[in-house]
Structures are given as C-alpha cells and as structure tokens.
C-alpha cells in the first residue's frame, strides 16, 4: 500500500504564499516578497518531481480524502484529491512552467508598483489551478475552475488604473461565467443521474452500463462543452482572450497560454468516459475546435500587436487540442497541451523580453532589426517559432502531426475534412509566426526614439537581465526536446506518452492497414505545408516588404474584415450586451427597483405616518375626552360580557 503522498500540500503551499504576500507583502522589501513567492512555487514543484520519480511504485488510481464537505441526504462530496498519469502530466506542467514564469516575473515586474500584489495573485492562481488538476470530484474541480477565473480577472486588471485593462478583466470574468453556467448545469444533471460527483464513481457507473448511449449523457456532455469553450477560449466564448493581453506579459504566458486555458481540454480528457458515449458531442467538439483554429489563425494573419498575434495563436492551438479530443484521441490532445505549454510560454516570455528591450513597444510595425541587438532572445524565440510551426525535430511537430493523423484515420465521417482544415490552419500558423519573426527581428529598425510609458528605461535597446533569460533558455530546450516523448512508431519512436496515458485515456487508435506508411506520408505533407507558409512569409516580409501593403489594398474588404476580427465583439455588443444593459437600467432598475421596491417602502412609510397622525389625536392630554372614550369602552365591555361570552352567567 502506498504511503500518503500528502497531495493536499501541493495546492496549499501556494495558498500560504498568497496569504503572506497578500496580507503583509505591502510592507515587505521586494526581496522578501520574491523569496516567499519563489518558495511557495518551488516546494510544490519539488514535491511533484519526487512523486514523478517514484511514480512506478504507486498503486493507481491514488486518492486522498482530506475532509468531508457536503453530506446532504443521499448526496455527499468530499475534499478529495486524486493522482493518476493524466494528473501527473498536468502537475508537472503547472508547477514547472509556473515556477519558471515566477522567476521571469521577478525580473520583468521589477519596476512595478504593486509588485507584492502581482506575486500574491500569481500564487493564488497556482493554488486554484493545482486544486483544479488534483480534484477527485467535479465539485472541487469547479472550485478550482472558478478560482482560476477569479485569479485571471485580478491579473488581467492588474494595471487597474488603465480603463482598457479594467474592462478586459471584467470581460474575461463575465464571459467565463457564461461557460461556468454550462459546467454547473452539467453538474446538476450528473447529480440527478448518478447521485454523486466523484470521478471514480461516475466513470465506473458509466463503464458498467454499456447500453447508456447518447440521451442524457449527450446533454451532460454538451453542457460540459459549454464550460470548456468558456475557459479554453473557443467559439463562441473566445472573445475574452485577445483582450486579456492587457495584463502583464508573464500573466499572458502562464494563464493564457500554458495553464488556465488548458483546463477545458483537461476536463474533457478527464471526463472522456462520458464523451465517448456520445458521438454527437464528440463531433461538436471536433467541429468547434477546427473552426476556431482556422478562424483565429485568419485573424492572426493581419494583427500588428505582437501579443495579439500570440493570443490568436493560442486560441488556434487550443482548437487543435479540441479537435484531438473530438476524434477521441485524448492522449494526443494532452500531448499537444504539453508541448504547447512549452513553446507558447516561451513565445510570450520572449515577446515580453522584446517589449522590455524596446521599453514598452508592442506594435510590430515599430520593431525590426533586433536580431543582432538581443541575440539570446532572438535564438530562444526562433526555437519557439519553429516548434509552433511544426518543423521536426522540434516539439510542436510531433504533437500537431499526431492530432492531424488521428483526425485523418478517425471513424468519424468528418475526419478527412477536419484533417484538411487542420492542415490549412497549420500552413497559416507557420505563415503568421514567421511573419512575426521577420517583422520583429529582421530588416531595418523602425523603433521610435520615444519610450512607451510602461517601461520607461530610456537607455536604448538592451538585452534582458539573466533572471529573465534563464527561463527562456530552459523553455527553449524543452521546446526542442519536449516532443521526443511522443514520437510515433511510424517515425521510429515508441510513443511513450500515449502508452503512459493509456490507462487513463484509453488506448490510442491505430489505422487498420498500411498504418505506418500513411502516417509517414501525412507527416511529410504537414512539413511541406509548414515550409510553404515560411516561404510566403519570407517573400512578403523579408524579400519584398512592399508586397503586404499591395495585397492588402487589392483585397481591401477581406483585409478589413480580418483586421477588425470579423467584428465579432461589436456583434456581441449589439445583440447581447446592449439589450441586457438597457433592460437592466430601465426595466429592472427604473421599474422594479425604484418603482416597486423603493415605492413600496415609501408607501408603507407614508401609510404608517398617516395612521399614526390619526391615532395621535386621541392622546390629547384632555381628561374629559379620555373619560368619554372610557365610557364608550365600558359600554362595549358590558355588552360583550353580558351578551357575548357571559351568557352562561347564572343568577342564583
């Protein structure tokens, strides 16, 4: 029997860090705040690492029931944590990448007011994310789910004095809430049908009833999908993620690239037993994922803010993960989650390094020629760009290719179409990433002399300090070798990650015959498409820099459509937000609140006053009037006594 792993410590240490920094951080010197934050993140990472080292000696699944929470009638839910292969991978990503980003932030945020606040919120986020990942039941997962939304709101609105940042924070929170409603409804349905929210019990019940197909399981799955689209920024609830770039860059790296937005994918993978029983839900996931991937990639083609491009790229890559889950290749989705965490975090952090070097400039049209001036940033970002574009032997190639292959061989009739759209999107991804690469690092320097007010250093373009560069280097190494745990057999590997996850996610699909050669062929096609994207980017942004403007003026309508993000935000605003605001302001506030409630209160007040003033006249101080009333009362009592309840009085 395994001795206790004390899983409850893993989320609790960052929470302690949050409390210390949050309550006392204002008075601490910066070094102490940093130390507290680092320790609060390092300890969980070391604990997870030690669990990973002893992993093979554990009996799985391992659950730890810390305390009972709700016991109401037949339903009960506990504070319980569980560990299996899927959890372990997520834990490694969250604690590992989280720790690296903490180190980076110590350098990036060094000149900020509210330094202590930043690290407090970051630790709070770690606490909630770890709770989400370690949870043994839907209810505790929901606690983490909501909590990361809260931390995201706090961190997006970190520069709260800036109007756009505050609005972006609100937008993120509200849109997430809509998804959370879906999650809640799914939980209610789960309680109704299964009587419990514990993963183990629900999945074993589903397993024991192979006749349960579709029906209520589809309903549960669809509501869970709604929740996932909110958290993982898919259509229709992706609109918050581009605006979330208002937050500091480390926040974008940690929350909006590596961890929080992957919670939706994790949840689908965790609950795959339910989704497997509903082909309709799986198709929905696949279609949403693919459509979002293509949609976001097209928008990313023309954006000028470096962080916006990366934001849309995140939405697009999350679409790939959804596609993987949609064709029931859950381990491929998780594999892409892992590699994406590495190269997307690296992309954001190095973009932050570029922004820092240019003292706050984020517009790519004002960049250029930075290759020689900030070499380490350049080389790490290059590694990330190659990884995301899907070039072997970098990480992104293996994971993305696995997804496309699984889509191609999927028994789902849409499989080939999804593969084609995914392939197209891969080409677009390669194009806009290399576009970013060329615009930022190559060509003549277009940077202006005036400094942005975010990072006013005022001493020219300079490389970032080592505390920021070290995480970049580590992540770059991971972006190169991170994919090597999933090399498929067709290419000479052993697909370790798929085998590792198979106890949790089910065996990976293999094509019937001619599997290996098909896979090789598809891999070659993917690489060709990526190269095509690079070629066009090279043509338009390095060889002939006047070409983009010419093309844009020729397809002006399409260009504007993409530049304005298909006007989706405006559409939502007009169709949903404005009517709600009007109803709230005029009907609910004007009619009900002011009219009915306040009016009712006032009416009662006036009535009481009126009645009071009437009754007041009786107490006039005049003895004779008192006597008059007394006489009347006496007569009434006499009447009552004799005729009322005194009629049985007998006169002897």
């Amino acid at each position: 029997m395994t001795s206790s792993l004390h899983l409850w410590l893993i989320p609790l240490v960052p929470f302690a860090g949050f409390l210390v920094n949050g309550l006392l951080g204002r008075r601490f010197p910066k070094a102490l705040v940093t130390a507290v934050a680092f320790i609060a993140t390092l300890i969980p990472f070391l604990q997870v690492a030690s669990i990973a080292l002893h992993f093979s000696s554990l009996t799985l699944p391992y659950t730890e029931n810390v305390a009972p929470w709700i016991a109401a009638g037949g339903f009960h839910a506990d504070f319980a944590f569980s560990l299996d292969q899927l959890t372990l991978i997520m834990l490694l990503v969250v604690t590992g990448v989280g720790f690296l980003i903490h180190i980076y932030s110590a350098g990036y945020m060094a000149h900020e007011e509210g330094y202590w606040r930043f690290f407090a919120y970051l630790n709070l986020f770690m606490f909630f994310m770890l709770t989400l990942v370690l949870a043994e039941n839907f209810l505790l997962m929901f606690v983490g789910w909501e909590g990361v939304g809260l931390a995201s709101y706090l961190l997006i609105g970190f520069y709260f004095t800036k109007d756009s940042a505050a609005k972006a924070g609100k937008k993120a929170f509200v849109v997430n809430r809509i998804g959370d409603v879906g999650f809640l409804l799914a939980m209610f349905l789960l309680i109704a049908h299964f009587g419990t929210l514990s993963f183990g019990e629900i999945f074993s019940q589903v397993g024991q009833h192979p006749e349960w197909q579709g029906g209520f399981l589809t309903a549960i799955a669809l509501f869970l999908i709604l929740g996932a689209t909110g958290k993982s920024a898919q259509i229709p609830l992706y609109v918050w993620l581009p605006d979330a770039m208002e937050g500091p860059t480390p926040v974008s790296a940690l929350i909006h690239a590596a961890t929080m937005v992957t919670a939706g994918v994790y949840m689908i993978a965790r609950a795959h037993a339910i989704f497997d029983r509903s082909p309709f839900a799986l198709s929905t996931i696949a279609i949403i994922g693919t459509a979002t991937a293509l949609f976001a990639a097209t928008i990313g083609l023309v954006q000028t803010d470096i962080k916006r491009v990366l934001a849309y790229s995140t939405v697009s890559q999350l679409g790939y993960m959804f596609l993987a889950c949609g064709v029931a290749a859950y381990s491929s989705g998780i594999f892409h989650l892992l590699t994406h965490a590495f190269f997307k975090a690296l992309l954001f952090l190095s973009a932050g390094s570029v922004i820092h070097a240019l003292s706050g400039e984020q517009d790519m049209r004002m960049m250029g020629g930075l290759r020689k001036k900030i070499p380490i940033t350049f080389w790490t970002m290059t590694a990330a760009v190659f990884a995301i574009s899907g070039f072997p032997p970098f990480a992104g190639f293996f994971s993305k290719d696995e997804i496309l292959y699984q889509a191609f061989i999927s028994p789902n009739p849409l499989g080939k179409l999804l593969w084609f759209v995914g392939l197209l999107t891969a080409g677009l991804t390669s194009f806009y990433m290399f576009r970013l690469w060329y615009l930022t690092f190559f060509g003549e320097s277009r940077a202006q002399a005036a400094a942005h007010d975010d990072h006013g250093h005022g001493h020219g373009v300079h490389e970032s300090p080592w505390i920021m560069l070290a995480p970049l280097v580590i992540l770059a190494i991971l972006s190169v070798i991170g994919g090597w745990v999933g090399v498929p057999e067709a290419l000479g590997g052993h697909a370790e990650i798929a085998h590792f996850l198979s106890p949790v996610t089910g065996p990976a699909h293999e094509a019937a015959e001619g599997g290996n050669s098909m896979e090789l062929l598809l891999a070659a096609v993917s690489v060709a498409v990526a190269l095509t994207g690079w070629f066009f980017a090279h043509l338009m942004y390095f060889a002939k820099p006047e070409l983009p403007a010419q093309i844009a003026s020729k397809v002006r309508g399409l260009y504007l459509l993409l530049l304005n993000k298909y006007w989706i935000d405006e559409l939502y605003g007009a169709v949903i937000v404005t009517p709600l605001l009007l109803i709230s302001r005029y009907v609910l506030k004007g009619l009900f609140d002011t009219g009915v409630i306040t009016g009712g209160g006032l009416a009662m007040g006036y009535t009481a006053q009126g009645l009071g003033s009437l009754v007041q006249r009786v107490q006039s101080g005049n003895i004779r009037s008192y006597a008059g009333w007394l006489a009347l009362g006496a007569a009434a009592l006499l009447l009552l006594t004799y005729f009322g309840f005194g009629t049985h009085l007998l006169f002897r």
């Binding site: 009786v618 006039s620 009037s625 008059g628 009347l632 006499l638 004799y642």
Partner: protein, 164 residues
C-alpha cells in the same frame, strides 16, 4: 312601607345627583353630594347594613365631604364658565354613558325575577357579625388598609405643603 321609603330616599339620591350635575358653583355641588350620601345611608339601613350606614354618615358625609368643602373654600373656586373643551367627551362620552345606563338597567330588570327581593329586617348584619369577619378572617387586609391610610396621610401632607 319599604317601597315608599325606598322611593322617597331613592328619589332624593337621584335629585341630589342631578343637582350636582346642573349646579355651576362647586360648593353647591358639594352640598348636593352630601344630600346624596345621607340618603344612601338610609338606603343602607333599609338593606340591613347598620354599621355601614353609620360609617357612611360619619366617614363619607362627615369627613370626606367636609374635606372637599375645605378645599373649595381654600382655593376660592368660583363659578364655572360653560365652555366646550373637548368634542370627544360629548360625541363619544354621552352615548357611552347612556349606553352603560341602558345596558345595566336592561340586565337588571330582565333578571329581576331571579334576583329576589329585599324585606325589611330580612337580613340584618350586626356590628359584631361584621367585626367577627373583619378581625378574624380578614385581619391581614385590615392591617394593610391601615398602612394604606398612613401612607395617604403622609402623601397628602407632602404634596400639599407649601414649598419654602
């Protein structure tokens, strides 16, 4: 005989009461009240309460009413002006008083058969009977009453004293 006496002295009572109501000067009202009380003493005698009749004359008309007269003379109360001070007293009070009278009269007359009648000498309570009950069964209330009178004396003296 009994009936005649009853009507004479009953009539005197009512006449005295009405006179109290109608007179303007308080001293006249006080004297009418003395008439009422003395007539009542006779009625007590008719009902066989000889001690009470004596007490009525001595205490009520002999002490209390004299006290009233003293105060009227002390304060030099003059004639009353007939003005209307309170509407409620007339509007509500008169019907109320009339109703009280009406209801009571109705009840008593309705039940007059069951009430029996009074005969002269039918039930005579001697002073010894009264005092037997008073000093044996009701000794405690009797003593308490004397304390009450003491307090009343003290209160009256304290209240009516001239402030120096």
């Amino acid at each position: 005989m009994h009936l005649v006496l009853f009507f004479i002295f009953g009539g005197l009572c009512v006449a005295g009461a009405l006179n109290l109501l109608l007179q303007r000067h308080p001293i006249n009202s006080a004297l009418s009240l003395i008439v009422v009380m003395t007539s009542l003493a006779v009625l007590y005698l008719l009902l066989g309460a000889e001690f009470l009749a004596a007490a009525q004359v001595i205490v009520y008309s002999g002490a209390i009413m004299v006290l009233f007269t003293f105060v009227i003379m002390l304060l030099n109360a003059g004639k009353e002006d007939r003005t209307h001070g309170s509407k409620a007293a007339y509007i509500v009070g008169f019907p109320g008083a009339a109703a009280v009278l009406g209801i009571l009269a109705y009840i008593f007359l309705k039940q007059s058969d069951q009430l029996g009648s009074a005969k002269l000498g039918g039930y005579l309570v001697t002073t010894s009977d009264l005092s037997r009950v008073l000093f044996r069964d009701l000794l405690l209330p009797f003593e308490v009453t004397s304390v009450l009178i003491l307090i009343a004396i003290l209160g009256a003296v304290a209240l009516a004293r001239k402030e120096h």
